[in-house]
Amino acid sequence: MAVWVQSLGEGRLRALIVDDSAVMRKVIERALRQAGLELSEVLEASNGEEGLQVLRDNQGGSAPLALILSDINMPVMDGLQFLEARRQENLAQGVPVVMITTEGNETFVLRAIAAGAQGYICKPFTAEQVKVRVLPLLRTAA
């Protein structure tokens, strides 16, 4: 799998994980690596506002982000507000976004998609579920 990811061109990827739980950020990063992603850097944010700041700080860099994963229920700014603000500020618009959340309700799924998410994973999740939902998005974006 790692060989295939290298065929995307960059070989190694930078990802942003937005979740108010530091434990969950680590678990998600581990799942991405288990899925075969060779991550050169994982940026972290504990809420949507911090996530926006990471995107602002990374505008126009030589190593653009390849993937954003975000929780929905977070203090300060939730994941749906994060996506809306990202769109309004025109930040990282070509970067695929996958929501990883305990909110499995269809209403939240539809709201996330309307706000710009391309994927949706419900907690609890397996590395295989992350692989199945994330890799096709990277393939499309490459």
Binding site: V27, R30, N73, P75, T102, G104, T107, K123, P124
Partner: protein
């Protein structure tokens, strides 16, 4: 026909089992017994608002919480590591979310809060909600409790 208590417990058992098997790769089984049999120093709380109004509490001893955090992270934890509290909060979050999703219809409007974690135990715990269920669980000999009130 199952009564409300049995339905709630069945869904809770299913949610707990799913979280442990998926995220910790461990089986977790319900125990018979009263909630007082579990030392509850670390307590995580999630609140439901909307179609379902209520709360879910997960409580565990320091030792059980540490083992749980290690299983979730795959790395050792220190006794007062904030990641231990974080792990218990996330566990409660996933169990509450799983229970809610099994209870609510797809178009229902119910949100869950972010987890709040304290180290004050369950002593003096009272809920404002009318119905309360509690259940103990064990994984690899480590016991923790879950309270559902709505």
């Amino acid at each position: 026909m199952k009564n409300v208590h049995d339905e709630a417990m069945t869904r809770l058992d299913s949610a707990v089992s799913e979280v442990f098997e998926t995220m910790l790769e461990r089986s977790c089984d319900p125990l018979d017994g009263e909630v007082d049999t579990v030392e509850g120093r670390i307590v995580a709380r999630i609140q439901f608002t909307g179609t379902v109004d209520g709360e879910c509490l997960l409580y565990a001893s320091q030792a059980t919480a540490s083992v749980t955090a290690e299983a979730l992270l795959g790395t050792p934890s220190e006794p007062h590591d904030p990641m231990v509290d974080d792990a218990i909060g996330e566990l409660c979050n996933m169990i509450a979310g799983g229970w809610k999703s099994k209870l609510a219809s797809p178009d229902s409007n119910c949100t869950i809060s972010t987890p709040a974690v304290t180290r004050e135990g369950l002593e003096g715990y009272r809920t404002r909600f009318g119905t309360k269920f509690s259940r103990n669980y064990s994984f690899q000999g480590n016991v923790f409790g879950v309270v559902l009130a709505f």
